[in-house]
Point group: D2
Chain length 359, copies 4
């Protein structure tokens, strides 16, 4: 093992560059993971643009597929050389938040408090996965062995995109026979569509403006396609549902417009399941909200992590219940990650997800 | 039985007057109920002011305690002369909404749709309870016998205030050990406080500015009192919780300010349970919402109705689990209901709820 | 419309015969339905054998597909000539049980009690569906219009088999990534398998001894097939799960042996979802139950009914989420229903479900 | 700190003796806790009698109140000298079971399995708390600081009895207005009664035969007392509920007779919440189980542990929501623990719980 490695580092707003770093030594509860495949997330683009602040010099990325290189002194139950993934969210397992089932809001503020988004550490508060190696904290909580027979790309969506998208469907508490609308069919929206299908939605309405994405949405389980450039999505959905509206609307973009449309197509008693990362205050329109008397629910979800979640998602892939391979549209070696960022940031060439492979 | 009766009628914005009406005949599934006690609700004041439109000539009021005067042809299982109440919300029992558990959003729009707030009929879409008699629709769904030994005033809060306030606690999904804040200690907020206590909240923080209300809040179960005129409620609550915030915040007023304060004191993963009737668009502040990544829930509840709900609430009173008698601060005969409206609309004399007794 | 009709009538244990009956007149809340297709259920065989007692002279059957012939005086929202189904369970909509969400335990015993299985009326407490016509009670609660484009046989499983089997999956509270075992792949077990698939089980293990049924189980979503004549099902399942056991075990037969096997393959914290109709006391083995300390759940479900449930199931068929057409293996005109009973009672010729068509 | 300590050790069936042991050294993730108060549990009596096998030489006891003596190398967020408790169940925080919310079934069997009751370690698989010192494993998961102002005896029930009894009420999913019966009013049953009250049960029926326990049951929240030596409890409960039965029946003894009585008084759709430790196979009577068609639930709970649970329970005591001090009927120094075992094993002198205080 070399003493140094390549890593995609946040230098300043507008600049993420590939540079050299020392390969880190695992602490007692850590594992050092050699990355075999990782990817770039929309959140990384927010970091690139300076919209989401991180420390200068931080390695970016939070979606690791790889091999255990070295285990910390206290880590048991794994072997070096084992193929593993870890979730984008790395809960500690021991916080009040974790023990209360809120693994993503891990950490502690005050005596026994929770830390908003505290479970998100890779490429946020510690060095991330767009590198030859990454330290996985609380390894016994977070390392999930990859079942034999699954390729890197097959499990590459598990750490973030798939876990998040499925969480949107789960938090919506979809029941058999439900009508579900999913606003935006980017990578997370497509996973939400697949998740809604997996939870038993009888009718799924997918909204986007990119025909190729709407086409993939059909493969993921959408029954009705709404191109919002061709028709008003609220009207189209109300018409498709005979004026009834949907049981669950999933917001997978992070805009006021889609948030609002979700509420407008929601039946009384329905649930708005929000996955988007918003960049401004949100407005709840009074009429769509029935002045607060519509028995509505608005729920938000941050990507669930931890090895049990990863195990469940990979099991779902293993038996063919979900196939998110189609989301990898481009592939780059780590050496060319700056090109990959350029492509992804500008959403060129129909890109959905980019697989990045170190050395 | 006389052929005519007195009824408080909406004439035009600003005018609800006591007038004569024909005593109605029950249809096949109705019951005619002789009112022995009813009350005025904050919603009635919205109607009075013209803020919530109803048909001119409509009898107002939706909180009936009384005696069965006459049963419709198909109504079984009750006897004339029986003491009963009915909920403010009168579900039909047979709509798609009811069969899906959404009794308050009863009724039908489109093929198998739901009607927002459709379960609210008394004093909204049909004649209400501020009269000598009222027709109870779908009587077999809605008439709940009053247990022997309970007085009219003891059960007077069941049809609306208590059912709504408790629903706020229930929808918040309070767990043993939760910290709950209740914003505003009017009649509904006080019931939400009592409900939070009944569901196992370990610490209840009550917010208001009226010392007398805060005093009653203590009796209902509040452990911590925050007078928002004396201290900023967000700061006070964050301090009282050691910076952790609350598990559940109940909004019981219907203002942007309290809605926003609820979010600001909510821990990540917490639930905002909203009971207020809002009169404008609502804003969700980005920071308090953690940009949509805080695993927050916002849930709204319309008063649950139906005889089973009423039975459960009265059982709770019967065994002394809740005692909402203290909320009745004033008493008027129906003849003087216009005076009662005047008092209640201007919130004079420390009024919480006014018992109205026909002839 | 003729004055008389044909009906399959329970005469005495061992004899269900086709006889003539008067076509009934709908009461105020009823609808008269002309049956176009119905079927025979395992429960009907229990009735035939005298194992489940019903009144002599009762028309048997509880799975109606047909056309509205005549509506009772109070029934609104339907038109004569409309194609409809009704659930095997016909809740009233107005009982305490219904208003508490327990539609299948409808009816009343005591002051505000529930009646075990009280929602099951067709072919149990009132005349059933194996006839030219049937009276549907509480028609506004129970009549569900059949979507255009769906055939009788496509929706024939909705009233009972599909609703029951799916309920087994729903009551098991299946999560994404769960391993589910379904014991017995008769009609209900096959529907439970399809339901488990629809709820997101990642691995479904189907147990039976009839190769043809196991083959259909694969089509319904089973990943692993266990023929209990070829291997011990407990051992086979523990091996297939690497010693972990299953998250949810669904009992779809009604025997001590399968009930016990469910517990034996259940992980700590797992759920046994029971659908079987048992004919004797059940034994819970101490070891498998971990002496009561395994955080196990045992839940039982009676077929959910009502028009909303039927609507949801038909929506699921409409979008192709479930296709239970393969379960109809035989077809008979009503005239030959006695032959159909003979075939079905003796489970000859690989029979799963028999479609019965009047006139 | 001395090098040796006193500890109550299991020698052989029939003999638990106080002996000397070395004070242990904390491993990296452990904490050494100096016990200030502990107690004897019914389970310890099973161990004493040899009914539940543990290793010879093991220190018994699983209910620790004390002070942190020494922290393991990796343990952060605590200070030596801090007053703490730990739950009887010490989850690791990092197992698949923990990450799936099944903390009590912690540990691993097979690849990613769960270990029945694996969270119970004190006095079962590692040395317990009836000693001067105890090692708390996974200290960051399990150590819960005691709020200022609470005495040892006030929090002595938290580690096991209170957590278990409350879990019985929680698992029963009690709703406002529910009628709950609690079978047996020993320490756990009394806590279940207090828990049912805390969750909003409107009527609680307590069953036992010891008048003093029934008297305490009233203080804990019971409304109706049934002495099963004076009347048949099934008849008494059916009469008290007007023939309706109860919504939730809690079994807190561990016998076939009480298990069966629970089912017999359960309404259709009701939940049997089982806390007892059974010593033989259980029989489910067919009639009470409505042949599997009663929409019944049977749920079992093992004591929830972990610092968050402990924190919540102590918060409940702090605000006076529950006061279980009355359960401590006797007090012994650790030196006389053999006497205490003798008293407790023979249930002499109205003993409920015995506080044991090391030198």
């Amino acid at each position: 093992m070399a003493a140094t490695m390549k890593a995609a580092i946040f230098v300043e707003p507008g600049r993420i560059v590939l540079d050299e770093k020392k390969v880190p030594e695992p602490g007692a509860n850590d594992a050092l993971m050699r990355i075999t495949t990782t990817t770039i997330c929309g959140t990384d683009i927010h970091i690139l643009k300076g919209e989401y602040p991180v420390a200068r010099g931080l390695t970016i990325g939070h979606e690791p597929v790889g091999v255990i290189e070295k285990l910390g002194r206290n880590v048991e139950g794994y072997t070096e050389g084992q193929r593993v993934i870890a979730g984008a969210i790395c809960p500690s397992g021991h916080s009040y938040a974790c023990l209360d089932g809120l693994h993503s809001q891990d950490g502690q503020s005050g005596a026994h408090g929770l830390k908003p988004m505290g479970g998100w550490r890779f490429g946020n508060t510690i060095d991330g996965t767009q590198a030859d190696y990454v330290l996985v904290p609380d390894a016994m909580v977070n390392l999930a062995p990859v079942p034999d027979g699954l390729t890197d790309e097959q499990v590459l969506m598990c750490p973030d995109i798939m876990s998040t998208g499925f969480a949107g469907a789960e938090a919506g508490n979809i029941k058999i026979g439900d009508i579900v609308a999913v606003f935006a069919q980017g990578p997370i929206g497509l996973c939400a569509t697949a998740g809604a299908r997996l939870r038993g939605a009888s009718t799924i309405i997918a909204v986007d403006a990119v025909p190729a994405r709407l086409e993939i949405a059909r493969k993921m389980g959408a029954d009705v396609i709404v191109n919002f450039k061709e028709s008003d999505p609220v009207e189209a959905i109300m018409q498709a549902t005979g004026g009834r509206g949907v049981d669950v609307a999933i917001e997978a973009l992070g805009l006021q417009s889609t948030f609002e449309q979700c509420l407008k197509v929601l039946k009384p008693g329905g649930t708005l399941s929000s996955l988007g990362v918003y960049s401004g205050d949100l407005t709840i329109p009074l009429a769509a909200f029935h002045a607060g008397l519509g028995d509505h629910k608005i729920v938000t979800s941050l990507c669930p992590g931890g090895k049990e979640r990863m195990r469940r998602l990979m099991a779902t892939i293993e038996t063919g219940r979900a196939d998110l391979g189609a989301l990898v549209t481009h592939r780059y070696p780590l050496e060319k990650i700056e090109e990959a960022y350029d492509l992804f940031a500008h959403q060129r060439d129909g890109v959905l997800k980019v697989a990045i492979t170190p050395g």
